[in-house]
């Protein structure tokens, strides 16, 4: 069903999609007696934008939480970079290079935009506490290198003008962008976006779409995202997983998925008998 792809191919718009970087195998997740995810398998390939879509309550966010280690599935395996991933805490998953954003924004409200984005660099900071106190030079050099990387991302997402502003004072749309900046600052192998466009107006959605595409194009970031807006998904993604009631009902390119009868039924609604 899900053969691990080791080859690469070039998309119509000239991006190279590499081999499989992450694979979910037969994931089942239960909360008490409620099954949130039932036996789902799919893969994510290097450099692609992979969307997970589905109606409300389909289990999309749960899936993202499984990938990022916030939920531990009862059954199934997560394979990452060719190895089976042992059970891990969310922070360990993050240190492996899986960054994420949240549906209802989880930023450090009391800190400035710059500090928020800097926390994204924790994976790249190696100097210990005592080294920072004693061996000032090395720690400073590291801090400078990280600052430069962060400034690049701040420029890239066009948030220079709010660098020093505390996040709590920003409007919703900009908060979403700062969260994306923090996740990108980690230079992740896989970037997980949980409804990056939820609650945005048309203009903000267009901006966000552009940033996602550019990040994928310029840094080659592999992206897995959840989105409600079908139009956005069709424009952005290379491949789409469709979920409904915790089950996978479709998987393929946007064109394949949109013509899939099960998907059409799930979205337009049919009588479940």
């Amino acid at each position: 069903m899900n053969d691990v792809s080791t080859d690469s191919y070039v998309t119509a718009d000239g991006r190279t999609i590499g081999p499989t970087v992450m694979e979910m195998r037969n994931i089942t997740l239960r909360f008490g007696g409620v099954k949130a995810i039932t036996d789902i398998s799919f893969d994510i390939r290097e450099g692609e934008i992979r969307a997970i879509i589905g109606p409300n309550g389909a289990g999309k966010s749960s899936m993202l939480n499984v990938i990022s280690g916030f939920y531990v599935p009862q059954e199934g395996e997560v394979w990452y970079k060719g190895k089976k991933r042992p059970q891990m805490k969310p922070y360990e998953v993050a240190r492996q290079g899986i960054a994420r954003t949240f549906q209802n924004i989880a930023l450090f409200e009391g800190m400035s935009v710059l500090d928020n984005v800097m926390t994204g660099r924790i994976r790249q900071m190696k100097t210990g506490l005592f080294a920072q106190a004693i061996w000032k030079g090395k720690a400073e050099a590291e801090e400078m290198a990280n600052r430069e990387a962060v400034e690049r991302i701040i420029d890239f997402l066009e948030i220079q003008h709010i660098r020093k502003t505390p996040v709590s004072r920003l409007p919703y749309g900009l908060k979403k962008r700062v969260e994306l900046a923090r996740a990108l600052a980690a230079e992740p192998s896989i970037l997980l976006l949980d409804e990056p466009m939820a609650g945005m107006n048309v203009e903000e959605k267009e901006d966000m779409s552009r940033f996602i595409l550019d990040a994928n194009d310029e840094f080659g970031t592999t992206i897995a995202l959840i989105e409600h807006d079908m139009g956005v998904v069709m424009d952005l993604s290379d491949r789409v997983v469709v979920m409904d009631y915790g089950k996978k009902i479709g998987d393929g390119t946007p064109d394949e998925v949109i013509n899939n009868q099960a998907v059409i039924d799930a979205y337009l609604g049919v009588a479940h008998d």
Binding site: Y91, R100, A106
Partner: protein, 333 residues
């Protein structure tokens, strides 16, 4: 200058010094509260425990001597060596870090996401456990702390401030305790170090991040457990500093743990989440209670220092519940 004004100024200065000592204890509270939302009732006992441990190590006391003697019928008390102060302080700090690790591993790790009142109760439990443990480990007699901090009035200051009397013959210069002056310097250095740590190191940044949002902190790769052990260690360090200063001033005795109660009004004034607030709050309480005792005290029969701080805190609770520097409480409706 008249006698009264001069005496008033001296009272003011002594009040500032006392305030610094209060602030020292309040700092420990603020640190833990900011980073983990726990109101650590045990902060005072931690100061006591660190002071006991420091004196015990310096004097070469055998830990758990009573227990060992009772169990094995031996008669151990001291190893017979004396450990230099610096080494003893380092060893005590190591023990405070170990304590932080144990507190996190055996208590608060299991209480993540519990109600604040439950966490508070846990710290009360911790306070009494630690008090008993300190007693068991080092004995309950009053001990003398002598790590080399200067004590007694400073003649130098007295001599060099005599001219400030401007011809008043009764004035022989200001009387300031050297220990208070040293404590002030220590407190200033401590605050500067803490601010530098939290603003400019990656651990400090991670600590602020955890204080702000657990989920977000996890998602960027911060281990909550590690940060909490670190926060308790830093609080242990602050407790050790407070323990050394208070222990030198009034001897290492079990009533030391009650200084925690003096920190409460300081926190209500300064706000539970503000490091500068702890300092300013401490100074206001210190100066306020000394000046009040000096000016109003005689009219009401004295001993106002016992309650002044709490009444002041009560007034703050009524008119500015978030304290001077605390985060503003805005309820959305």
């Amino acid at each position: 200058m008249s006698d009264n004004i001069i005496f008033g100024i001296e009272v003011l200065m002594n009040g500032l010094m006392a305030g610094v000592l209060y602030a020292l204890v309040a700092l420990g509270f603020v640190l833990i509260y900011k980073a983990s939302g726990i109101f650590n009732y045990a902060q005072g006992v931690m100061a006591l425990f660190s002071a006991l441990t420091l004196v015990g190590i310096m004097q070469g006391q055998v830990p758990f001597a009573h227990l060992i003697n009772a169990a094995l019928g031996t008669d151990l008390h001291h190893f017979g060596w004396h450990v230099p102060a610096v080494l003893a302080i380092l060893l005590t700090m190591a023990i405070m870090v170990l304590l932080a690790f144990c507190v996190q591993k055996f208590v608060f790790r299991h209480l993540v996401n519990q109600e604040p009142i439950i966490l508070f109760m846990a710290t009360i439990g911790l306070a009494y456990f630690l008090e008993g443990f300190g007693d068991l480990m080092w004995g309950s007699e009053i001990k003398k702390m002598s790590v080399g901090l200067p004590q007694g009035g400073s003649f130098w200051i007295e001599e060099n401030t005599q001219w400030m009397g401007l011809g008043n013959e009764n004035f022989f210069g200001f009387f300031l305790d050297k220990l208070d002056l040293v404590a002030t310097v220590i407190a200033i250095v401590l605050v500067v170090v803490l601010v530098l740590f939290s603003q400019y190191t990656k651990q400090g940044r991670a600590m602020r991040a955890v204080a702000d949002d657990h989920q977000a902190a996890l998602s960027v790769g911060i281990s909550l457990n590690f940060i909490w052990v670190m926060v308790w260690s830093v609080a242990g360090f602050v407790a050790l500093v407070a323990g050394i200063v208070w222990g030198t001033k009034s001897g290492v005795q079990f009533s030391l743990s009650l200084i925690a109660l003096k920190a409460l009004p300081v926190l209500m004034l300064g706000g539970f989440t503000s490091i500068p607030g702890a300092i300013v709050g401490g100074l206001i309480i210190g100066v306020g209670e000394k000046l009040f005792e000096f000016s109003i005290g005689p009219m009401v029969g004295g001993a106002t220092e016992n309650w002044f701080a709490y009444v002041l805190a009560l007034l703050f609770l009524v008119f500015r519940p978030q304290g001077l520097f605390g985060e503003k409480i805005i309820e959305r409706v």
